[in-house]
Symmetry: C2
Subunit: 173 residues, 2 copies
């Protein structure tokens, strides 16, 4: 490569990165608009039987406290986002699996799932964070050995929304 | 009482009975309009999570086959209607108990319950049918000793609609 091109290529790379961040933030904003308290309450609480729970893997209950603890262990922000993205992709699949297409919360859950699909290309695990990357693999493999938890659908999406705010409020102001 | 009044009182009694049957049939017709297959499917299947069940007493699963068997045992039609009425009043209360007011099937279940309430004054057990009357008492007392069954809401209302047709199609043509 000719030396004179280097600053130009760097400039192009920065532009590309910026465009990716913008696109990621656009999706996060759309998710935020779909994950308002009012909608979580309506679709995930009012539209389910009282005390109804979904069985998820222990690792799929990803709370704000887990993120704080992982940050204290110096896990990188991209890996935390990768964890949040994968956990909630699985959570949405599990909620959707208990609904028929004509259930009044089906479309809402499908729309959220589609936004997560769009997010896929922007989330990656950093190799240094081997523990987190392994947890994600376990979540994705639906490891039968992993302990299960019965959790209310609204609690799952409450976690999703809260952790999303923790992970993106700085980078997507 | 003067003798000349007897035919008049008899006539009044017959008129009263006829008016009662007409009112009972009006309520049954309203129930039939609310218990169409389409509505049972929508509110009791599509609007619940897949495989969701409600816990009812064993005696609250009142199928067409049970009515046939009781008829073979010469149980009177009024007592069979009394049984059906009480079983399904309890069934509706149990379905409603798992729904919040903002659940899309709540209003439907409430409306059915109100129609059953209107029906109360027209249904009575005949003293000869002591066994059936005792079953009704057990159902109403929610006897903790009675065995329980997990049944899908639609199956419960399917039974309700089918048995209703069996019991009223002749008298409410």
């Amino acid at each position: 490569m000719q030396r004179g091109y280097a600053p130009f290529l760097y400039f192009v790379a920065v532009l590309g990165l910026e465009a990716a961040v913008q696109e990621e933030c656009r999706i996060i904003e759309a998710l935020q608009n779909k994950l308002t308290y009012q909608q979580r309450l309506q679709y995930m609480k009012h539209y389910f039987p009282i005390n109804y729970t979904v069985n998820v893997q222990f690792e799929e209950v990803l709370r704000a406290a887990n993120i704080t603890r992982l940050r204290d262990q110096n896990v990188s922000e991209p890996s935390l986002r990768f964890l949040w993205f994968n956990v909630n992709t699985q959570v949405l699949l599990k909620i959707q699996a208990v609904l028929l297409e004509k259930h009044p919360a089906w479309e809402y859950t499908r729309d959220l799932g589609l936004l997560f699909e769009q997010l896929a290309e922007y989330e990656n695990c950093e190799q240094n964070d081997i523990n987190v990357c392994e947890v994600v693999e376990q979540v994705l493999s639906s490891d039968a050995g992993s302990s299960r938890k019965a959790v209310r659908p609204k609690a799952l999406l409450d976690n999703c929304a809260k952790v999303m705010r923790m992970l993106y409020s700085e980078s997507c102001k």
